[in-house]
């Protein structure tokens, strides 16, 4: 199968297609994790994005039934240097190619992915179109379609999470209401592991609907897209804060900032990977974290304390407000994929709601 990747700046790269025969647009982003491609593909935060893995050999251990972060592939395309046509792992059930084909997502491999990474690094993330086809691909028309796509204007959150309330870990000791902005199952797993009953609620649930759960604590999940445009969600969150302990992760953290008077900006090319060091200001300790965000908080809301920063670019990685019992982090303590250095944050949350 042939495949083409066309970038907004006119760059066109040819490669070999895999997965589904399809044409998809998205913002081209890169992830530097060396494994965990299945978790990344099924991570709802990649909605509207074409995902490029910087590690060149992808698919080696296939796709299994247990490592999904949601039931579908949220990325609109997958770009790798070398797709493994076969796989070898005790849990694997299918190949990467089969998985993408089944979910209708096109993939491209055999192209200079490092060249693309450097381009994104210097020019910033940009819209792109991926096309995979057994027949010829009209590259000119691909470039034409590019203008139609605007990542920042799209509300991906509405479709990323559950459509109606769902409960996980029924019978758990602590009740958690999760505003599902596009949550990873990893968050649910961490909470359920800590004896929580998790009520996942659609992103646009009202504050009353959330309150009706009578949860011990409220969790704001990760999710895709620009946090600034989610004004309805900001309002809901503003109403919820103060009554119960709140824990926000990634988009959840950004939404808290907006809800409480802070703001966010778009990073040039985001943080996506499993190797980012985050410094805890109070303890002076560093954790290696999983990150997946294209936006970051630049103004910490009044009354909030900056708790964690990125060890490299010093961007905001965590805040808290003791008065209102809110804690939030920009990164992914649930990992999946990535290091488990920060799972203690779930312990702390459960301790707070268990009081």
């Amino acid at each position: 199968m042939k495949a083409v990747l066309a970038l907004k700046d006119g760059t066109i790269l040819h490669g070999i297609g895999f997965g589904a025969e399809a044409v998809m647009a998205g913002e081209l982003v890169f992830n530097t994790s060396m494994c965990g491609y299945q978790e990344a593909l099924t991570d709802p935060s990649y909605g509207g994005q074409i995902l490029l893995m910087t590690y060149p050999l992808i698919g080696n251990y296939g796709i299994n039934a247990v490592d999904n972060e949601s039931s579908k592939i949220h990325a609109s395309g997958f770009v790798v240097r070398e797709m493994s046509p076969d796989y070898s792992h005790r849990q694997a059930e299918k190949s990467l190619h089969e998985f993408l084909a089944e979910k209708g997502i096109p993939g491209i491999h055999g192209l200079d992915t490092r060249f693309l990474v450097k381009k994104i690094r210097s020019k910033g993330v940009m819209p792109a179109i991926i096309a995979a086809s057994k027949n010829g691909i009209d590259t000119d028309s691909l470039l034409g379609k590019m203008g139609e796509f605007d990542y920042s204007g799209v509300d991906f959150v509405a479709k990323a999470g559950v459509e109606k309330p769902e409960v996980f870990g029924r019978g758990g000791k602590h009740k958690v209401a999760m505003l599902d902005l596009g949550m990873k199952m990893g968050i649910v797993r961490e909470l359920v592991k800590r004896d929580c009953e998790v009520h996942a609620l659609p992103a646009y649930s009202s504050a009353e609907e959330v309150e009706a759960i009578e949860a011990d604590g409220i969790m704001l999940s990760n999710g895709p897209g620009d946090p600034a445009i989610l004004e309805e969600v900001h309002k809901t969150v503003r109403r919820l804060i103060g009554a119960k302990p709140v824990f926000g992760v990634c988009l959840g953290h950004q939404v808290i900032a907006h809800a409480m008077g802070g703001s966010t900006y778009k990073l040039k090319f985001g943080h996506r990977g499993c190797n980012h060091a985050v410094l805890d200001i109070e303890s002076g300790k560093v954790a290696i974290t999983t990150q997946n965000h294209g936006f970051a908080v630049d103004k910490v809301p009044e009354g909030f304390e900056l708790t964690k920063i990125n060890a490299n670019d010093k961007s905001v990685e965590g805040m808290k407000c003791e008065n209102k019992d809110v804690v939030c982090v920009q990164y992914h303590p649930e990992a999946s994929p990535g290091p488990h250095d920060s799972t203690y944050l779930f312990d702390e949350f459960v301790a707070r709601i268990g009081k």
Binding site: L13, F30, T32, S33, M34, C35, G36, Q38, E39, T54, Y55, P56, L57, N60, Y61, N64, V66, D67, R81, E82, S84, D86, Y87, S88, H89, R90, Q91, L111, D112, T113, R114, F115, V117, K118, R121, F269, G273, C274, N275, H276, A277, L279, S283, G284, K285, V286, A287, I288, A311, N312, A335, S336, P337, G338, P339, H340, D341, Y344
Partner: protein
Amino acid sequence: METGEKKENAGKKKIRKALVIGSGPIVIGQSAEFDYSGTQACRALREEGIEVVLINSNPATIQTDSEIADRIYIEPITAEVAEKIIEKEKPDALLATVGGQTGLNTSMELYRKGVLKKHNVVFLGTDAEAIDAAESREEFNNLMRKLGIGILPGKVVKKAGEAVEFANQIGYPVIIRPSFTLGGTGGGTVYNDAGLKKVLEGALRLSATGEALVEKSALGWGEFEYEVVRDSYGNAAIICNMENMDPMGIHTGESIVAVPSQTLSDVDHQKLRDAALNIVHAIGIEGSCNVQFSMNQETGEFTVIEVNPRLSRSSALASKAAGYPIARVATKIALGHSLHEIRNAITGTSAAFEPALDYVVTKIPRWPFDKFPKTPREIGTQMKSTGEVMAIGRTFQESLNKAIRSLEIRTPSRIDVDKHLYPATDLRVFALFEALRQGRSVAELHEITKINVWFLERIREMVELEGEIRTASGALGKGLLRRAKRFGYSDSQIARLSGLSENAARKLRKGYGILPTYKIVDSCAGEFEAITPYFYSTYEEENEASKMEGKKIVVIGAGPIRIGQGIEFDYCCSHAAFAIREMGCKSIMINNNPETVSTDFDSSDRLYFEPLTFEDVLNVIENEDPYGVIVQLGGQTSINLAGKLAEAGVNILGTSVDSIDAAEDRDRFRELARKVGIAQPENGIAMDEEVAVMVASRIGYPVVVRPSYVIAGRAMEIVNNEEELRRYVREAVEVSEKKPILIDRYLDNAIECEVDAASDGKNVFISGIMEHIEPAGVHSGDANIVVPSLRISPAEKEKIIEYTKKLGDALGVVGLMNIQYVVKGGVVYILEVNPRASRTVPFVSKAIGVPIAKLAVKAMCGEKLPAGLSSEMDHYAVKSIVFPFLKLLGTDIKLGPEMRSTGETMGIGKSFEMAYYKALLAAGIRVEKGEKTAFLSLRDEDKGIVPELSALLKKLGFSIYGTMGTVGNVEGAVSIAKIGRGHPNVVDMIESGKIGLVINSPRRGGQAHTDGFKMREASIRGGIPCITNVNTAFELLKAIDTLREKELDIREVGEYSN
């Protein structure tokens, strides 16, 4: 995650002066990686204003250069010597973790003896308790149980009975590991009681504590390693993980290794990562640590195999593979810095991160079986390799292919597959290719080898591609050729497969516009801009290595450490890079050895991590368009490329290719020697057996025979008669018109000496006249060497100086040359001239205090040199050697014209005796402390010395045993039965520990598996000094006699002047 409070005492004491212990001579299991780590560590300490006191007996190390440490002791690495140095230097801290197992064991001995406490010396970084927790099997197992991390059931035993009982309880196969030995020495996998008893016996004898671990074998499980750094605040990061392609059962040092892991899912990876972190937190590592795991590929169950609480071979590999200077960071941590404060020198970002790779690295060990054709090639839990190569690619195939050609071995054309698959040999990877070519399935190969199917599939893809190239033959299309290049196939491989010539394949490829691109190793997969230029080639869209500005000089490295081409050449190449910078030019290094200083990212202005073939090297040269290329310093590897590179229009700096040829071509050289008026031992060339016999009988036996163009005397032998000569020609070498053999008269009982000189084309600077302790005939790499000379008369010296100058002039040498002479009866004969760096360059540089490799490089660039012999020395320097026989059981240890040593030591002293004694002590030979019983068995030619030798032994308090033929006439000596003629024979005596020294000179050209062979092997197994040359032994005993009662004279190198 468990967090650790910073220890109270750490950081409180202001460190002013630190002692660093190096790893000593290169041995199997401990190679150049500790010079690399140690050098980085010394630099990191000095950056902080700390005075560095260094002890290392290996002169061929950058670490022992005056630029790296402040107070340098080239002395034997023993606790006694270290204690003297501590008394003298009064350091306040000790860095125990950068000198391999040698440095660690010596430090622990100092700690246990209370020396450190007495002198108020603290451990920098990981401390003694932590080291104990990791190194002591019992403590470690208890700790793992506490952490809930799986371990293989194991038990430390002292007796065979316990071992058998335990093995039967856990079930075979089991692994035996002697405690506190290097590279798995003396251990092995055993399958039954008999095997267990046999291996255990040796293991117990080799263990410093008389203990060995009997452990359940996880044969066939996947093997993974994690390289961790942790600071004293409890911050930790995994620098990289690695996957051994060869599953459990093969030592990681013997395995083909991929970086990062290829077959772990993230969940698997995080499980092992968590375990590794929990372990380093629990042990309390402050610095670097290596954790090895095995994982059952079917169930996902895993166990921890071992933990190395120090810099290691793997940490060097990880540093080079990930672009993260672990030794530097570990040293900063040891000084109390937190991980996130330390800068990553490559990206300028914080060192607190886990490198992201966007390439695949493959490491392959380099084995010495080309030098030891009779040694069993099986590989297992004990290391036999001397070095390794690393290659980087964007596909696994690319990195594998590049690594294979970096080995510089001939790919076997025919291979009996089943002899190499299992048990594995060094040739297993080639057997896998061949098996797949023969149509055997991946499933079957997995069943036999347990190698993960993913790796086997990649090789299958390569075999498939090779088939396509063969089918296409001359009509190679662009698409197929590009695929082949992206799989790492060289032009010459493609040529061989398609029936084209290499040149034609190259032309075709260039015609298609398929050119290499260079990518940066940046530790962050392109996420941040990299400051340090460290490149590898691949075939992609974008080339990131645009031509560097300025006057650039390329240094071609020496490749993997092997017998005959060791760390000495890397030392010279590193010096070249430094000298080029000193001259204000830009240095470009091409090399593929991950263990070395030359491949450190800041040794050169640019580093290309590439195979050292004509194609790979020329590609770099074409990419950079340098002023010139230095080929003299990388041993045979670089010199062999000179001709082709010159033909391709490359400017070879220094001595011309024609002069190199004039020195190496026997006919041309004979002509030259005659013209200059220097005598050569009578010699001749033979293209076949009959001519060889004719030539030899003209010259007269014994003769030295060898193939032309060889490295370090490969396949060189002394033959005594026609029968031996015929056998040699038929069995040992291929002889043909294109590959003639050289036959030289063997000069009996002559003095051999050699000279390293540097010339600027006019002035020839002679570093010194180095005299061999052993008579001519022992390979110069295996000889004990002293400078200045002892027995050469002033007249002979004059002649040597004169000849050296004449030869330099006649050959037009610009740069280095090494000349070997033999002196007999007032006549100076020349054996050979090598117009390139020799193995003795670092030794002699350190002996005279002049860095002659640097001088030579500057001369190649037009600078003038002083003429004549270097000034008189007020001291003696002796180079001694270490042999790998313990690791290569089944090899006869007798010495001859073929080189067999892996490394060297240096002893310096005001007297020859002191220097010689210390050099041998550094090499591990210590006869006066063991059983005071010597066993003598000498060949007839040596028997004249028996009265003197036995008198000396008696004087030193030895009782003498020996063969009837040797000691029959010695008063008070006991003759022992020959093997097979009653007991106790010599082997019995050695095995029962009754002999403390064996002096055995074997008959020349004798066969293996004689009595002598059995006796030598028994001594090696028993760890008893076995000296196979009477001169070596006699001089040693004389030195011991002279030095008796005297203190070891330990001095800083600066105390000796010239």
